[in-house]
């Protein structure tokens, strides 16, 4: 594969893949697993036929790799979101609002994993319902419905968490 072309693809895909891994894999292994996924993407890039968007295709590879990661370790549970070191220490995107970040960690910890994933794909990565469905192995209708429920649950959890703080 053309290395310049892969360099461009790397720049486009790396943040999304890193976020996906960071959210699901212990922090100390995030970089290794991300590098493995990027290398896998490099290896598979010769087979990219353009049937789906590049980010959808890359996130599917990432999802399969993370599933393999847990299968190899026979570990089912992921790291609870309210215990994420990035939230406790303050991540790169969390300016000075650390208390809100901790609050958000508690809110997201109350949401089911698939609802967090649909919020990530649809609101952050900008995938369409069809693309999100492709990554998650669901139908676009199911994705829309899941996003709607995620919204309801997020709002409810946020209100409850803020009420408890006050």
């Amino acid at each position: 594969m053309d290395s310049d072309l892969f360099g461009q693809a790397y720049d486009v895909l790396f943040p999304a893949v890193y976020r996906y891994v960071r959210l699901r894999v212990p922090a100390e292994e995030t970089e290794d697993v991300t590098a493995e996924i990027m290398a896998r993407i490099w290896k598979a890039s010769g087979k990219f036929a353009g049937k789906s968007s590049l980010k959808t295709w890359a996130l599917k590879i990432a999802a399969n790799h993370v599933a393999d990661y847990y299968r190899r370790r026979k570990q089912v549970t992921t790291v609870p979101l309210n215990e994420q070191p990035a939230l406790i220490a303050g991540g790169p995107g969390l300016d000075d609002s650390v208390p809100e970040a901790l609050l958000l960690g508690s809110v997201f910890a109350r949401l089911p994993e698939n609802q967090v994933a649909v919020m990530e794909f649809r609101l952050i990565e900008g995938l369409s319902a069809r693309e999100t469905a492709e990554v998650m192995g669901a139908t676009p209708q199911a994705v829309d419905s899941l996003l709607y429920r995620a919204k309801q649950n997020f709002r409810r959890a946020w209100e409850q968490e803020t009420a408890s703080v006050l």
Binding site: M1, D2, L5, Q8, A9, Y10, V12, L13, F14, P15, Y18, R19, R22, L23, E31, D32, T34, A35, E36, M38, A39, W42, K43, S45, G46, K47, F48, A49, G50, S53, L54, K55, W57, Q84, A86, L87, G90, G91, P92, G93, L94, S97, E100, A101, L104, G105, F108, M119, E120, R122, L123, I124, G126, S128, L147, K151, F154, R155, W158
Partner: protein
């Protein structure tokens, strides 16, 4: 994302909160550099791991070579099957192989006389007397018993180690003819490391001992086996029966002359046919024995004297001249093996060429198709990267 949905997240500030939350998981610049370096290291490792089998190309070549070998072997076997391969003459392996086999088989000649018995029964019903018993007939035919000559078939099998198979064969054949004999069968095979000849000679019995003693003129007799088969008893038994049938035939001829009706003549004629058939069988048997007795069979196997130096006692040095001969022989053998190998490789290529051409065409077509597909995919990836960059 559709505006309506986006608005529902934006209206109460939840979209901002979600983005704020996920921002905590975005990579910083240092993490980006570290992962890039690790990715680079992994792709390099995979590249190296692939190198021994340069792409899948080497696998294709190995598979193609295996296919060629199988095809060539099949062609080779087929060629051997129709006998065409046997006519290949390799330049370094001049071989003159010929077979002359004119050994006659007389096995069918030992027939039983059952048919004759049937004739006898038939004649009894027709008031014609049975043939005389064999001892009677023999006594009647010969009168006083003449002194019997022994009928003994001599056969010799011998193995000779000779300096030159071709020369020895020529000499032995000439000797056999000079003694009044003939060559019944001959076979000679000359290979680089192995010369072999076999001869089947028929030698007049009276010259048999002379010929046997002369064998040593052409080489070393490594094995000699002479055996005899005394057929005297059987021979004279058959001869007696033949005479008996002869007497019977004479009597039928007398009856025939005296026959008055056509029916009688037909009946006697039929009996005469049976008698004559029986006589022919016995005469054939006697001729066969006469031939075997008159000409002894000599079967010879000739092998070339080895030119290798055989050191039987390692402590006893061989002569220098023998060492030189052995060295010369070794050089000739090595050159011959190499030359033969080259010849065989060329012939093998000849067999494999049509398959190789077919495989080359297939390979070129597959390569062109794979290249087109790779270019298409490269273009698709470039387009996808462009689209994602625009979105960013």
């Amino acid at each position: 994302m559709e505006d309506r949905e986006l608005r529902s997240w934006e209206d109460d500030g939840d979209l901002g909160r979600v983005k704020n939350f996920f921002a905590a998981f975005s990579p910083d610049e240092a993490a980006g550099e570290r992962v890039r370096a690790k990715t680079h290291a992994l792709t390099q490792e995979r590249g190296k791991a692939k190198r021994p089998l340069k792409m899948p190309r080497l696998r294709y070549i190995i598979a193609a070579a295996a296919l060629v070998l199988i095809c060539a072997a099949t062609v080779n076997i087929a060629a051997r099957g129709d006998g065409s391969y046997g006519n290949d003459n390799f330049a370094a392996a001049p071989s003159a192989s010929y077979v002359e086999d004119s050994v006659k088989s007389y096995e069918e000649m030992g027939q039983t006389e059952a048919a004759g018995r049937d004739v006898g029964n038939y004649l009894a019903d027709s008031s014609v007397s049975e043939p005389m018993s064999e001892p009677q007939a023999a006594a009647g035919a010969t009168g006083a018993a003449a002194p019997r000559e022994d009928k003994i078939i001599y056969t010799m099998e011998a193995q000779l180690r000779v300096n030159s198979v071709a020369e020895a064969m020529r000499g032995l054949e000439a000797k056999a003819r000079a003694l009044g004999g003939y060559v019944a069968g001959s076979r000679q095979s000359n290979q680089d490391y192995w010369q072999y000849g076999s001869l089947t000679l028929r030698i007049p019995s009276e010259e048999f001992t002379l010929f046997s003693d002369a064998l040593a003129e052409w080489g070393t007799v490594t094995d000699r086996y002479v055996y005899s088969d005394d057929v005297t008893e059987s021979y004279f038994d058959v001869e007696s029966r033949l005479k008996s049938w002869q007497a019977q035939e004479d009597r039928y001829l007398e009856f025939f002359s005296a026959a008055e009706t056509v029916e009688e003549m037909i009946l006697i004629e039929s009996a005469l046919d049976e008698v004559r058939r029986e006589k022919e069988v016995l005469e054939g048997q006697l001729k066969y024995w006469d031939s075997k007795v008159a000409y002894s069979e000599v079967r010879l196997e000739l092998t070339q004297q080895s030119t290798d130096v055989a050191v039987t006692d390692p402590w006893q040095p061989v002569s220098f001249s023998r060492t030189l001969a052995a060295a010369k022989n070794a050089v000739i053998k090595t050159v011959s093996v190499a030359w033969n190998g080259l010849n065989r490789a060329v012939v093998f290529l000849g067999y494999a060429l049509p398959v190789l051409i077919l495989l080359l065409v297939l390979w070129l077509a597959a390569r062109a198709w794979l290249r087109r597909r790779k270019a298409r995919r490269q273009a698709a990836l470039a387009q996808a990267v462009g689209t994602e960059t625009q979105k960013e």
